[in-house]
Symmetry: D2
Subunit: 117 residues, 4 copies
């Protein structure tokens, strides 16, 4: 039986944190703060770029960005785990809600509608 990547990472991170006795610092409040800080580090790479430039990163920059994305991912998995939230279930649920909220025929290709939604 194949194990799912997300479950694997959740378990690995749980062990990582337990081995270092860091769960005491990883309250959901602190994790939410750390996650936002990492999201800021990700955004920093793009802040003075044009949108076009952001679509064509140099390999070295792309590598750095990939690691920032991974940092956010790690905290996201951790905060869900600390709260006992089923991340996969929540993502499925939210995507279904978004599909209802933004019906194709209503919002297709319109920046105006996109921003107003």
């Amino acid at each position: 039986m194949q194990t799912d990547f997300l479950d694997e990472v959740r378990d690995e991170l749980r062990e990582f944190v337990e081995a270092r006795d860091w769960a005491q610092f990883q309250s959901p409040k602190n994790l939410a703060m750390a996650l936002m800080v990492e999201a800021g580090e990700l955004a920093e790479h793009f802040q003075w770029m044009t949108e076009a430039q952001s679509r064509q990163l140099e390999p070295e920059k792309e590598k750095e960005v990939a690691h920032e994305i991974a940092d956010v991912f790690v905290y996201l998995v951790r905060i869900a785990d600390q709260l006992g939230i089923d991340l996969k279930h929540s993502v499925r649920e939210k995507i279904a809600l978004n599909a209802q909220k933004y019906p194709v025929e209503l919002v297709r290709g319109s920046a105006k509608k996109y921003t107003e939604y």
Copy 2:
């Protein structure tokens, strides 16, 4: 063969965006910005809570938080996809780097060491 959750979600979101012709708005720059905004909405739930309170959410609050976490997740999958980044590979790589950076024997149970690293 079982498909992995993360691959499934990436493919679904790609279709979601294509059906709405939204890829034009989803430059990595804009996605990084939107991701940070969603991270802010997640953090907002916790900003005046104590750490202890953040560990014991009411069911209704937990539901809201779960959806904010899902929002961040969706943008994270999208930005990786738009940049052609292999999210699973990057996460594996970053966890391995973190294990090197924070050796158990050095950082165990110490807030001081935790914060200085």
Copy 3:
């Protein structure tokens, strides 16, 4: 006639940006992004601290925090100026709105009410 600090800083920053021909990069969109990134750098200092620790910073840490606060301040003055917004007027207006929104007799000393508002 004494000049106001905020007006002085606005004028100095305007000259700073013009001398470097940076106004082209300082669109309100980019400034909003940079401001959020700096807010993240400010928050990073506090993310693993307890609230009590955050009230008693070491002098060196306080100095670093003071400079992060200044960074946010600079972008705040810049974004208002680029948008032609009268920052002083807006702040006065918002404080008056907050006073209406949170009447003393209703919200006094209650975390519960504070968070629900």
Copy 4:
């Protein structure tokens, strides 16, 4: 003798918080978190705009943005005050440092240099 706007606002906000007995919730940690959340609300207005669009806001949108800017300003004044930081001194100091860090002759008009600094 004219009082400075920034000093006036700091004193008003101090009274505002004291009247509501909110200083207990306004630890520097919580204020840094709240400030970042407000910075996210400011950025949200711009996330799907082009840079050009962000330079030409509709009056109603500009009003909303002005209030978000004021929200960030209020928390910035509060966190400095709670930490006993002289905001005006720190801003002066940081602008002087920036002038040294980005000499006109070196960085003028170059996005490349701008982003690498």
